[in-house]
């Protein structure tokens, strides 16, 4: 087996952060995706145009570039905001905030959510369109409010069509978290880099991380395929 020179546990701790950031961002991405898909399909020209612009621009730019833009750009924006409110805080007799460092976890999760929200929006758009229109019309004819139509009729049927796409997006998102090490998140990739710096054994540690990723993707596939099969059951 792999000899990890005592770094196994720190990397596993990093793996926890990898999973936490991936899970949190996928939840946010699904919410963004549903909202943007509904905007995209709405009758308002402006809303649907804005949604189309968002999904097209985000899906045309690499994750890494967006991540660096949001991380470094966000740093500047946040500190401009701080410089703006600090005099007011001081005038109130409070302690000024000074310089703020952006937390890579928050920046990373938000970036991943914004990026994969665009992919989720495409998935949900297709899924919503796959629900027969008559279903929505009859729901409305029953006197349901738009929210009731969404919750009771549209969403339960759309999610079945969305699941394969969600699975796919989740797998890509999970692998994208490796890039968060670039903006300083101490995920398992970053922890492995520390271990490599100390031991000079890059192959060993990156192989260990690769195996962990493979385990995560395999486990996700098993779970999500089961869910997909279950969602298909009433329709066979």
């Amino acid at each position: 087996m792999l000899d990890l020179h005592g770094y196994g546990w720190t990397i596993l701790e990093g793996a926890r952060l990898t999973l936490a950031s991936a899970l949190l961002s996928v939840v946010l991405a699904v919410l963004i995706g549903i909202a943007v898909a509904l905007l995209r399909l709405s009758h308002s020209r402006i809303a649907s145009g804005a949604a189309l612009t968002y999904t097209t621009v985000i899906r045309g730019i690499p994750d890494l570039v967006l991540m660096l833009l949001i991380f470094f750009g966000g740093q500047i924006l946040v500190n401009k905001l701080v410089a703006w409110v600090d005099p007011w805080i001081e005038a109130q007799g409070g302690a000024p905030i000074g310089y703020l460092d952006i937390n890579p976890f928050i920046a990373g999760v938000l970036t991943l959510a914004v990026i994969y929200g665009a992919y989720m929006a495409e998935t949900f758009r297709g899924a919503i369109l796959a629900v027969p229109h008559g279903q929505l019309e009859s729901a409305r004819a029953f006197g349901m409010t738009p929210f009731q139509v969404f919750r009771r009729v549209l969403f339960p049927q759309a999610v079945r069509h969305a699941l394969p796409g969600i699975t796919n997006n989740w797998l890509v998102l999970l692998k994208s978290t490796a890039l968060l090490s670039v903006i300083g998140l101490e995920d398992m990739v970053r922890k492995a880099q520390f271990a490599v710096g100390a031991t000079r054994l890059p192959f060993t540690f990156y192989l260990f991380v690769a195996v962990l990723f493979l385990l995560f993707t395999t486990a996700s596939l098993l779970v999500l395929r089961t869910l997909e099969a279950r969602a298909q059951r009433p329709y066979r």
Binding site: D63, L68, L179, V182, F203, F213
Partner: protein
């Protein structure tokens, strides 16, 4: 925002654009050549042929591109046998390792796309080919592959865009691609918005060009399926 720092560094962006374009083009081309036999193996029902191809695509599609690059660029140097080999002068170069990683990665994804396209081949066409007395090899070359390529085209268009976007990670191992140029400008002038928005706009333009080209290709490859008018 002040884009003059970008204009001053236009040479970096030009070089970066060139490096991005040629690395992606070469990776896609070599990857496609490699993907054809692997895809055929993956479509085989013989487990001895299928399993090794499955293991390869499973490992390469199940792990991040960045880790694959780290394993090849940093990892291989761990073995003295590699350092002593005649290929070491190439394997120590970041651009070569990146190219090798991209080829292996895109070949794995493309092979899976091809497998899907081969497996959805209409039974009747295969039966007809067999009835004409074609050998399996001839049938693969004349009937199955041309039809599978056509069906794989939309998914392959996505793969091209993914490869373009994935290539941005070479900037992490010091190759000056589009993202690398932006990172250079960012570190010199501390101008993240200008630097990364410029790079992002270039990627967006490239993505748009690829989409446009694929749509044209699809229109001509599927021309026989379009409804006839007039």
């Amino acid at each position: 925002m002040d884009f003059s720092v970008v204009l001053e560094s236009w040479q970096f962006y030009a070089l970066g654009l060139w490096n991005t374009v040629w690395m992606v083009a070469v990776s896609l081309l070599v990857g496609l050549v490699l993907a054809i036999p692997v895809g055929i193996m993956r479509a085989s029902r013989n487990p001895l042929i299928n399993a090794p191809a499955w293991l390869y695509t499973y490992c390469f599609t199940g792990t991040p591109l960045l880790i694959q690059l780290f394993l090849i660029y940093y990892g291989l140097g761990q073995f003295s046998a590699v350092r002593a080999s005649p290929f070491w002068f190439l394997l120590r170069e970041a651009w070569f390792c990146a190219l090798l990683t991209f080829v292996l990665n895109t070949a794995a994804y493309t092979a899976e796309i091809l497998r899907g396209a081969i497996q959805t081949m209409p039974r009747g066409e295969i039966e007809a080919a067999r009835a004409c007395g074609m050998s399996p090899g001839l049938m693969m070359r004349r009937i199955i592959l041309p039809s599978a390529f056509r069906r794989a085209l939309p998914a392959y268009g996505n793969e091209i865009v993914f490869m373009l976007h994935g290539s941005s990670i070479v900037s992490i191992v010091t190759v000056l691609d589009l993202t690398g140029a932006a990172r250079l400008v960012q570190s010199r002038y501390y101008a993240p918005f200008e630097a990364f928005i410029t790079a992002g706009a270039c990627y967006l333009a490239l993505t748009w060009l690829i989409t446009l080209a694929m749509r044209r290709l699809e229109r001509s490859w599927f021309a026989h399926l379009r409804p006839r008018t007039g």
